[in-house]
Amino acid sequence: MFDSSFFAAPTELLLGAITGIVFGFLLQKSGVSRFETIVGQFLLRDHRVIKVMLTAIVVGGIGIYGMRDLGLIENLHVKNAQLYGNALGGLIFGVGMALLGYCPGTAVAAIGEGSRHAIIGVLGMVFGAGLFAQVYPWMKSALLQEADLGAATLASATGLSEWLFIAALAVLALVLFAALERHEKRARS
């Protein structure tokens, strides 16, 4: 089908598969592949989603910017800041996530764990992706081309060091985690 081969190179697929197995294994082990955990996070009674995400962001950020500063990696993969698209898309995404109880990655993990309604959710996603493709030209001219700042980061947009933001996020995470643990301990007793 089409102009390119259907499958990418075997090494690339193998590396993707290994990454996916680890990713899915970790999502299931943390419990974020459960409907109740995701909706529970939005209802502010289960905070595992924010704990997992914020920890991944801080640990990941230290490693990625550390490796960049040491010259071990050259490329970052920052997505374009199309602020209207990012904001409106995020809002729509949040509504869908509350209704489905999964995001795309956790829905696929949930299928592996045995959730049946997650299968229907992923079918909806494939259908929705086709739908989006139909309205993309309109979205592009109406929303995505406006306020497009390119591959901006919090650091490049403000002119401050990346490490300042990472340090601030780390402090914020520690304070939040300490507060959540205290709150959860009180709720249990």
Partner: protein
């Protein structure tokens, strides 16, 4: 080692740290960032292409993702094995489920499977529509973008949590607490 793999629940801090380190590995060894929602576009393009190839070729969005690039690429392999990884984890800890209607949903909307499946389908459509408009989802923007301090991703994250919070309370109500 194996006894850790058999445990049901790992600390979210441990899992978060390991996910961060998994990102180190994808950046360093593969020059890639974790993501999932693009694969849904490729899947849609591939399915549509089976029926009407010219429709896909002429579509500005789909053609970007499937015509000039392999449909089954690094990320698609990742997405398929995500399910396998979660299956292995659940199998090892004997926590496999068979969930058609989640309890929290049933408490609010009753035990109807059809109703839940309809909501899942609509939820999936809304979710991916938002993800593609924003240019990523919880993995691509949330984890990969968040850790790179991408402006796009932090705008997305704030919007996602705000809307998720508001809609969860609206949908499941205070009674769910």
């Amino acid at each position: 080692m194996i006894c850790y793999l058999r445990q049901k629940n790992w600390s979210p801090y441990l899992v978060g740290s390991l996910l961060g380190m998994l990102s180190w590995a994808t950046f360093y060894f593969m020059d890639k960032a974790l993501g999932t929602s693009t694969s849904m576009v490729q899947a849609a393009g591939a399915v549509l292409g089976l029926f009407n190839e010219s429709l896909v070729r002429e579509n500005a969005y789909l053609s970007k993702y499937v015509v000039v690039k392999p449909v089954f690429d690094w990320q698609m392999a990742l997405v398929f094995s995500l399910a396998l990884g979660a299956y292995l984890s659940a199998k090892l800890s004997k926590s496999r489920i068979n969930e058609k209607v989640p309890t929290l949903w049933a408490n609010r909307f009753g035990p109807s499977v059809g109703k839940r499946y309809l909501a899942s389908f609509v939820g999936g459509i809304v979710l991916i529509f938002g993800a593609r408009l924003a240019g990523g989802c919880t993995s691509g923007h949330g984890i990969s973008g968040g850790l790179q301090l991408a402006l796009s991703s932090w705008v997305f994250l704030v919007a996602m949590f705000a809307a998720g919070l508001a809609s969860a309370f609206a949908i499941y109500g205070k009674g769910a607490r």
